[in-house]
Amino acid sequence: MFDVVSFLISWLTLFGIYAILALCLNMETGYTGMANFGLVAFFGIGAFMTGYLSISSFLSYFGYNYPIYSLDAVIAMGRVSDKNPILNIGVFFLSLTFSFLVSGSVGYLVSYPTLRVGPAFLGITILSFGEMTRVFMRHFQPTGGAYGLLGVPNPFAWVQQPTLKGLLFLLLTFAILAAAFVYFEVLSNSPYGRVLRSIREDEVSSLCIGKSVPAVKAKLLFVASGMSGVAGSLLAFYLGSVSPDMFGTAVTFEVWSMVILGGRGNHVGALLGALVFSLLGRASSAFNFLFPGLAIDPNYVRWMLMGAVIVIILMYRPKGILVEKPVRTEAWRVFEGEEGRMVFHRKIGGVIKKALWWLMGREVR
């Protein structure tokens, strides 16, 4: 009765998108200690960038000249979006890149207040920045203003079978997620990651041992916001539509709770948190479906749960489910000999190698 496959696909896709966000936030908060409550702004900017680029490029390629938010444009998109696979894929990667660049640059600029004010103020500042972005997008005609954009061409629009299409998109999402994960993992297991942590611990004293803290923060915000932008772009492609109201502060808080649950300063933890909370969302609606007409709506329960989890985690396991590990670099080799070299992606590599050996029927050496 219950279609498990498509459930997994739809759930995991949204999970993938949120997981990328969680990783970015983890970089900013877990490692660098910047309370970024405006995450959603970069998310949204990425999404709108994508909507604008993809649709306009399609229309121009097929020689229409409607405004991209007009009805004609939407209809036209419906007609042409599955005509030319190469174009679809190309546009997809193009908009991904641009979303990264644009959101990243915005993040870089936003980092300016971070050197003027402390954590609490930073939180509020970026939070209100997020709201400002939303209000602005509502008035910004080129991206449809209040109308938003409809008809963002799915990179696999040319695939007819819906499940396969979903699956392909899921794989793409996971590929990007994996890339982000490995990149961040490597980054945080390098001297750079060490600097980030030092900033989280005590930025003044980090400044006093010659780390130019503002520059580091700004660059990090560039990368993290950029990745959030990529997540937004994925969302736009997945939904096929973008509208300003999709990017309220609630999104930010959801991602926050993911990171806190999973463990600040631990990327695997961030993934775990994302997994749990996205599943929770599904569960609440499924629950609602199974037992209609409850006294208390499961959605309320779900959010209450979310709040409670945050508080409880902070009380009894402040570092989250998975605590952060010290930065693994060559340095450990000097003190601990060879096993000090085992850094995360090498571990993965080892596992894969073993698996291959096993598959080839040889015994693992």
Partner: protein
């Protein structure tokens, strides 16, 4: 050997309150120079000015003949002038090793662009780690490398703080009350440690200390600051016998 640090007529005031009034002093290379004075006499303010926390309202600060006033703390550090804090500010939830690994200047792996490419920096990392291991074993804290700094004892934390500057290749180190909050013996230990380093690595120390007795045993030269003004200076004995100083300390 000439002066490594020169402070020339530095004044600094906060909202009308003058914390430093036209302070001028020299720190000879290779010396342990002391700075004493009652609370609120502007010692720490002076350090902050030197280390680039504050910009002096007037006057100049020269380090190895270069102006450093108006530079930012990180730039000052990267020129070879390190400072410690009165109550230490280590990166407490990080291990001792990580704390020390942070201090060397201009590591390749600390640039965002190069960090992901392991082979660019792994060699350097290895070298640094080796130095640190030698250093730690020489100082006798090698076996602490794995501990979080928050778990260390007060004396060790001070050592780590001081070591940071040294490993950063600083030639002048400003110490803000290295012996504060330690028992006499431990405090003395810290000072002996400083002294030995000074000899072996040819470093210069500029030290604020309330433990005048300790300071008098170890310092070569002492400045006395009072109400933001330079009250007296000289070899420990001269200062100790200076009536001005005595009055300041008793009536100040």
């Amino acid at each position: 050997m000439g002066p490594i640090l020169e402070v020339q007529g530095v004044s600094k005031s906060f909202g009308g309150v003058e914390a430093l009034k036209d302070v001028t002093l020299k720190v000879e290379e290779g010396s342990v120079t002391g700075l004493i004075g009652p609370n609120g006499s502007g010692k720490t303010t002076l350090f902050n000015v030197i280390a680039g926390f504050y910009q002096p309202d007037s006057g100049r600060v020269l380090f190895e003949g270069r102006r450093i006033d108006g530079l930012n703390p990180d730039e000052v550090y990267n020129m070879g002038l390190a400072r410690t804090f009165q109550n230490p500010r280590p990166f407490s939830s990080m291990t001792t090793l990580e704390n020390l690994m942070l201090s060397p200047r201009g590591q390749i792996g600390e640039s965002l662009a190069k960090a992901p490419l392991r082979r660019l920096w792994s060699g350097e990392e290895f070298k640094i780690a080796k130095n640190i291991k030698d250093f730690m074993s020489r100082v006798g804290i090698a076996d602490l490398y794995k501990m979080r700094v928050s778990d260390l004892s007060g004396g060790h934390i001070k050592m780590v703080e001081t070591s940071k500057g040294i490993l950063g290749g600083a030639r002048l180190i400003l110490l803000d009350e290295p012996a504060a909050g330690l028992q006499y013996a431990v405090g003395r230990g810290v000072f002996e440690y400083i002294n030995s380093l000074r000899k072996s690595l040819n470093l210069t120390f500029f030290v604020i200390e309330h433990r005048i007795d300790l300071l008098f045993d170890f310092a070569d030269y002492i400045y006395v600051l009072h109400m933001g003004r330079l009250l007296s200076e000289g070899k420990p004995k001269e200062v100790a016998s200076d009536p001005e100083v005595i009055r300041a300390y008793i009536g100040g």
